[in-house]
């Protein structure tokens, strides 16, 4: 697992209070990890803070799974 993936997983576990094993790449924040819409707003803010990236609202709306988050952040960091 990449460094980004590890860090994303850690943030999700902390913020949503879920078991690490449940945080698979395919896991949906809302459908699988018990988040509501405000939780996802806060998660995206936590990603921004941790990785020093800007995630505009229209991009944030498309981040619904753990993998979406990892991919978006890695793309931003590569750019």
């Amino acid at each position: 697992m990449s460094e980004t993936a590890e860090k994303v997983k850690k943030i999700v576990v902390e913020h949503l209070g879920v078991e690490e094993a449940k945080v698979t790449p395919e896991a949906s924040f809302i459908d699988d990890l018990g988040a509501d819409s405000l939780d996802t707003v806060e998660l995206v803010m936590a990603f921004e803070e941790a990785f020093g990236v800007e995630i505009p609202d229209d991009a944030a709306e498309k981040i619904t799974t753990v993998k979406d988050a990892i991919d978006y952040i890695e793309k931003q960091k590569a750019a």
């Binding site: 879920v18 405000l38 806060e42």
Partner: protein, 427 residues
């Protein structure tokens, strides 16, 4: 408007819960209180070097098994950050109250007939402070999406309703230090008038923070002369009193329509028989000197209860330990009780837990009910030298065994708002 009612319905108390500076749990707190213990101490949780008042009553930190609070034992980690501490304390007290009442209905009809009315004096003040700092630091975009719902006063009621599925009236009271009594009284009326069969009602406050302390220091309301002897700082009616001591906590009760409680075989602590309110129309923070507001509030409460002053054996006073307020209230009680004053016991439990602001009326209502249940008037700690004599027994320093059938509890708030509630021993 109320044409559907043949007569107001009777309302009883079937469950109680407390989180306060003496700890968690009604029995635990009451045992400590009647033993004359104090929950006040030096503030450790933040820097008080710039504050003239350095004492407060904070809910003790520790495991549930010791009657202390570890929030993680009560609320999922994920949810803790979504609520200011006052909401957390409300949830803790509500959990005890509904478990005590055995009222965890699973059917839709019962849930829709159960409401919540938990208020707060000032709500999520520390949360607002932190958000302000963040904005000042230029981190406006980093503000938590939970900031507003964490600070809103009615979210205590909201969270309790969500946790237990209570779908009846969802309401909240905000009347400064009179909040707790207004919440209990108004909730009882909703039941009496048929809006609900059960109400989870009370008050919660957690303003022992830098901004809360600084604010009350600025209005010259807090004790400053006892920073080295915190347990001596709250001393209602004593000649050396110099202001109130801020406390935090929550009190929640389950109020229930009498027949509803009887039918399910619920334990009945007491009946809510009277409720009165008044406004001073005088000053934003000071009570009217003649005690007229307090007098009319108590008089209205006794009238609605249909009891005479001589039928009341115990008064839980507002008695905050301020130089002005204590004797004004004492005068109002003496005037209303007249000759019956010499048979009356009146104490201020704020001497042990401090002033819980919006939670005060709720926890003191519970203490009044416990006084009825056990026939014990809790003490007024530190009442060593009364600033003036009175025929009323103010239960100085040591609890008293007394036959208590009817008790009245007072709460008065900034803005000149007064409320009194009357409880009677369950028949």
């Amino acid at each position: 408007m109320f044409g559907h009612l043949a007569a107001p319905r009777r309302v009883v108390v079937t469950g109680m819960g407390i989180a306060c500076p003496l700890g968690l749990g009604v029995e635990h707190v009451w045992k400590r209180m009647t033993a004359g213990e104090s929950g006040l101490g030096a503030i450790q949780s933040f820097d008080v070097s710039q504050l003239p008042s350095k004492v407060a009553g904070q809910v003790p930190q520790g495991p549930k098994a010791e009657g202390k609070l570890d929030v993680a034992e009560w609320i999922p980690v994920k949810d803790v950050k979504k609520m200011d501490r006052f909401i957390q304390l409300a949830l803790v007290a509500a959990e005890e109250a509904v478990q005590d009442a055995g009222w965890l209905p699973q059917d839709e009809e019962a849930r829709t007939r159960t409401g919540v009315m938990i208020g707060s004096g000032i709500g999520g003040l520390p949360t607002i402070y932190e958000a302000s700092v963040q904005i000042y630091q230029g981190k406006t975009r980093r503000l938590s999406p939970f900031f507003i719902p964490s600070a809103l006063i009615n979210l205590a009621s909201g969270h309790v309703s969500i946790r237990y599925g209570f779908k009846g009236p969802n309401h909240s009271v905000v009347t400064a230090c009179a909040t707790g009594v207004h919440a209990l009284g108004d909730a009882a009326r909703l039941i009496a008038l048929g809006d609900a069969d059960v109400m989870v009602a009370g008050g919660a406050e957690a303003a022992v923070s830098e901004i809360g302390m600084a604010g009350f220091c600025a209005s010259r309301a807090l004790s400053t002369a006892f920073n080295d002897t915190p347990t001596k700082a709250s001393r209602p009616w004593d000649k050396d009193r110099d202001g109130f001591v801020m406390g935090e906590g929550a009190g929640v009760v389950v109020l229930e329509e009498y027949e509803h409680a009887k039918k399910r075989g619920a334990k009945i602590y007491a009946e809510v028989v009277g409720y009165g309110m008044s406004g001073d129309a005088h000053h934003i923070t000071a009570p009217s000197e003649d005690g007229d507001g307090a007098y009319r509030s108590m008089k209205a409460a006794l009238a609605s209860a249909g009891v005479r002053p001589d039928q009341v054996q115990y008064v839980n006073a507002h008695g905050t330990s301020t130089p002005m307020g204590d004797d004004i209230e004492l005068g109002a009680v003496e005037r209303l009780w007249g000759d019956a004053a010499k048979g009356l016991a009146m104490s201020s439990t704020k001497s042990a837990v401090g002033h819980l602001l919006g939670a005060a009326g709720a926890v003191e209502g519970i203490f009044s009910i416990m006084a009825i249940r056990d026939g014990i008037a809790p003490p007024t700690l530190n009442l060593d030298n009364p600033s003036r004599e009175s025929p009323i027994d103010r239960v100085a320093n040591v609890a008293q065994q007394r036959k208590i059938e009817v008790a009245l509890s007072n709460s008065f708030g900034f803005g000149g708002t007064n409320a009194s509630i009357v409880f009677r021993k369950a028949a």
